[in-house]
Structure formats: C-alpha cells, structure tokens
C-alpha cells in the first residue's frame, strides 16, 4: 500500500474542543533520508496546541528521524536530508536564520539519559544562562522549580554540586527533563524516554507529563504501545518510514482503524 495520504489527513472536527485554533506543527510531504536511504516518506499531518501527540511504531520506522527534523538536527547530522516542510507556529523551520533560537524553544528528551558532566545545578542552569540570566537568585529559583517539576528535587537538593553525569539512569533522565523544562519550551519532544528508566520512575515521569499538558505541547515517541494509550490524546502509527495511521488514541486502541496493520501492531502481532 503506497498511498497512505488519505489516512494521514487530520480530522480536527472529531477531536473536540481541545484542538480549536491553528495547529502548532504542520507537517507537509515530509521525507527524510540518510545518505540516500529513506527513513520517512511523504508524511503529512498536524499537531495541535496542548495535546500529547503519541507516535508509535517498531524500530526503524522513522519516529526519531521526525523528531530530529523538527528541531533541525539535520544540519548537524552528516548525510541526513529532509524534504517537504515543517511549520511550527506557522513558520517554516527552514526559514529560521538563528537556528539556535529555534532549538532553544523546543525541549528534547532522548532515549538514553544524558546528564552533562557538569554539576546538577549547572545542568539545569545551562539553558537559562544561555538566555542571559546571570542573577544567582533567579537561577536558584529556576533550578528548584524545574527539578521539582521533574520529580527530582527531593533526591538531589542536598547534592546540587555533584556531577550530573554520575547520577543513576533514572535520575539522569529526570535531570534531562528538568533541563528541557528550564528552556521554558513551547514544545517538548520525548524519544522513548523510558528505555533506560525503571518502571516506578517511568510512572512518575508520566504523571509529570500529564500535568505539563496544560502548559505546552508534547510529542511522545514511544516503543511502548500502552504508554501511548495512557498518555496520548492522538496517536500516529509509523511503519518502515510510512505514516500508516493517525487518529484519536481511543479510536486506535478500540480497533477503530483504517488499516489492519495498525491493529496488528497494537495487539502485538508483530513489531
């Protein structure tokens, strides 16, 4: 099945009041390839403000590539080519002259936790300092607020000076989230954040994400189908570089699908 475009069209009318207003992200005919090898083909869809947008699919389906294209990491990745367009807030990401200003508005959490080899405090103060915040009191406030939101404050408040890269995996992942929040982003991208995190921490982070929905828009790439079910308002299913299905999460999980492959993946028949 080559032509998935019919399925890829968003259906704003059916999503209720959550999705009024223009979409925050508009993706049109997006194609991504690495050194000529396609990773994603002809994807077109919208993501709306204040939704948690889940993306599921087996490995190599183009999920991560999509996130990388969103904050133009293709510029820093040899061999990565992006065709088509992505508009964020109505502006094509390729039109940004100051690429770094674009990235500073998008928080990113990657599969493997990355605590920078700086103190915990400096990890979280990194982005505010880039924005020019120098006052100690102001930084203190940001650090405490973001660590608290990321459910890490209680564990590290007594050792803010120790290396962020030496925390445990789960702590580092929450530190990464605190760092992303310190950017005060409009958009938070999470890429399989729970891979290196224990289940208890995962649940704590999921609660945080639910809270955050009122403040920002979240794109959640996950390899755990049930995680998408728990969190996402709408979910897209990618398969080997193709956007197979997009719809309200509930619909997808109740078998209300256009393409049998979606149900097959959700029910674990492959993937």
């Amino acid at each position: 099945m080559v032509d998935g475009v019919g399925l890829a069209q968003p259906r704003p009318s059916s999503f209720g009041p959550l999705y009024d207003g223009p979409p925050i992200i508009e993706v049109r005919d997006l194609g991504i390839s690495y050194g000529g090898k396609p990773a994603l083909r002809d994807a077109s869809f919208d993501i709306y403000r204040h939704e948690i947008f889940g993306i599921i699919g087996p490995a190599n389906s183009g999920k991560t590539s999509f996130l990388r294209a969103l904050n133009r990491m293709d510029d820093f990745t040899t061999g990565m080519e992006v065709r088509g367009s992505i508009h964020i807030n109505g502006k094509d990401v390729n039109d940004w002259r100051n690429l770094y200003a674009l990235r500073s508005r998008i928080g990113v959490v990657l599969p493997l936790p990355v605590g920078l080899p700086l103190s915990v405090y400096d990890n979280v103060a990194f982005s505010p300092r880039l924005r020019g915040i120098r006052k100690k009191a102001q930084l203190d406030e940001v650090v405490e607020r973001c660590l608290t939101r990321a459910a890490l404050w209680d564990e590290v408040k007594d050792r803010l000076g120790s290396l962020g890269s030496l925390l445990s995996g789960g702590q580092q992942q929450r530190l990464t989230i605190a760092r992303a929040l310190s950017q005060e982003p409009e958009l938070l991208l999470l890429d399989e954040f729970s891979i290196a995190v224990d289940p208890v921490t995962t649940m704590r982070i999921e609660d945080v994400l639910k809270d955050l929905r009122s403040e920002l828009t979240i794109v959640l790439v996950t390899n755990l189908v049930q995680q998408a079910r728990r969190l996402a308002d709408r979910t897209a299913f990618f398969l080997t570089g193709e956007l197979v299905e997009i719809g309200a999460t509930e619909d997808l999980f109740e078998g209300n699908v256009k393409d049998e492959r979606t149900t097959g993946y959700i029910e674990g028949r492959y993937g």
Binding site: R103, L116, P117, F126
Partner: protein, 289 residues
C-alpha cells in the same frame, strides 16, 4: 568425546611456539634499547653536576657546562609551543567538531600525515627558505621555533583531536538540543572535559621539540654563543645541536662530556614523555561519566 586429538595437540603446540617467538621478537626490540640507555647513564652520569648544568662551555667547548644550550632549548620549545598550540588546537577543533565528511577534510588529514612524514631536513630547508630568507627573520630563535612548530603541529592536532573525540557525542547533542551554539557547546562542555588530554599532547610535543636537531641547524641554532638569548631575534645554542657538535664537529672533547650532554638531552625528552604518559594513564582512571 572431549579428549584431545593429535590435530588438537599439534595446533596447541604450534600456538605456544608462536607465542614464544613473538615474545622473543618483542624482547629483541626492547633489550638493545635498554642496554643503550644503560650505557648512556653509566658513562654520562659522572659528568653531571650542578656546575655542568649551570655554567657555559669553556676551552673551545672541550670543558665546562651546557647552561646556554639548556636555556636555548627552553626558548626554542616555548616559542614553538606558543605558535603551534593555538593553531593545532584550532585545527583539531575544526576536524573534530565542524568538519563535514568531504574532500577538503580528507585533504587536511592527508596534509597532517604528510607534515608528520616529511623528513626533518626538508622542514629545515622550508624553514630556511620561508622564515630565515623570505620573512627576513634571519637565523634566529623565531625562525627556528616556527620551523619546529610547523614540524610538530601534527603532534598537537592528533592528541587534541583524540581527546576531543573522547567526549561522548551525546553531550554535544544534549547541548545543541537546548539551543546552545556549536561554540557554546565546545566552550562549556567539550573543552573543559578534554583540556587535560590536550595538555598531555602538549607535553608530548615538548618532548618531541626539545630533541629535534635538523630543523634548527640552519634556522637559528648556533655552535657557540657566549651569552644567553635576550630576544627571539637572537641566535642560540641548543642542547640537541650541541650534542651533534661535540660529537662530530669538534675534536678533543672528553668522552665523559659528550655522554653527559647526551644523557641530559635524553633525560629531558624521556622525562617529558613519561610525564605525558603517566598523566594520560591517571586521566583514564578518572571517571566523569
């Protein structure tokens, strides 16, 4: 079923023989050098004294010490480092942090390999033609040091690039994702975590630079200068060139004295080298991630 067959036993025996042969080859490589070093120490040690280190040669360089040569070598090394470390670190930063995988990058890498591979006497010809004559520095510390700097540039570049690349890529991506520019990423995360590795490379370069002779023979080193250098435009004595002179150009130099010069030179070079290696091993033990 699990008993050794004749075939098994034979190949096992062959393995032991191979191991022994290779071990012998390694020993054959290492032993002569240790013997040589031992001879240098035994024959050179009697010459070493405070006076030897801190006085100038006398009696047509057949007696006295090596102080001007020692000071000259320090001048040469310091000026060479001042020139090559900034350029070398910049080059390594470019190659490790910016360079795309294209023809230019490959050309740069090839140029680095060649800079290291071009014979030292050719570097000397270049230094003579370029720095002494074309840029009119005449035979001076400046000309000699710049020649040394070009020659040892690959040492800094390679060591720096290695320590930059030891910093995991994930750290860079994390910074970029927060909107840090490449330079901010380098300054705040990459450099602080590779600076000690770079230092290792610099010490290694000190070791290399202080032993070189051919590149400075015509560009700034002199056989005998009765005073210490006052500026980079002076000629100077140098330990390596001094060793060449006392062992080939002059007659009547007591054996003990030439061995003393050789011992001091090799002690400096190997000490610097050992410091560099020790520092590297120490750093490997520190875990920051």
């Amino acid at each position: 079923m699990f008993t050794a067959t004749a075939l098994n036993r034979r190949s096992y025996r062959r393995q032991s023989v191979a191991k022994a042969v290779f071990c012998l080859m390694t020993v054959a490589l290492v032993i002569p050098v240790l013997l040589i070093l031992g001879t240098l120490v035994v024959k050179g040690a009697p010459a070493i004294s405070w006076e030897f280190l801190f006085t100038a040669p006398t009696n047509n360089m057949t007696a006295g010490g090596i102080f001007p040569a020692l000071v000259g070598t320090i001048w040469l090394v310091v000026v060479a480092l001042l020139a090559s470390v900034p350029i070398g670190v910049a080059a390594a930063l470019y190659l490790s942090e910016y360079a795309p995988d294209n023809l230019l990058t490959r050309a740069i890498n090839l140029a680095i390999v060649n800079l290291a591979g071009v014979p030292s006497i050719v570097h000397a010809l270049f230094g003579f033609g370029a720095f002494v004559l074309f840029f009119r520095f005449n035979a001076s510390i400046l000309a000699a040091s710049l020649t040394l700097a070009v020659m040892t540039l690959p040492v800094v570049i390679v060591a720096t690039r290695e320590s930059l690349q030891a910093v995991p890529h994930a750290f860079r991506e994390a910074c970029w994702n927060m909107g840090a520019t490449r330079w901010q990423t380098i300054r705040k995360v990459v450099l602080p975590n590779s600076i000690s590795g770079i230092l290792t490379g610099v010490i290694l370069e000190v070791s290399r630079t202080s032993g070189e002779t051919a590149p400075i023979m015509f560009t700034g080193a002199a056989m005998f200068v009765p005073f210490l250098p006052q500026s980079v435009f002076d000629q100077t004595m140098a330990l390596s060139y001094h060793l060449y002179n006392v062992s080939t150009q002059l007659t009547d130099v007591p054996e003990e004295l030439t061995y003393g010069v050789a011992l001091v030179l090799i002690a400096i070079v190997l000490l610097m080298n050992a410091v560099s290696i020790g520092f590297r091993i120490y750093l490997r033990g520190l875990k920051k991630w």
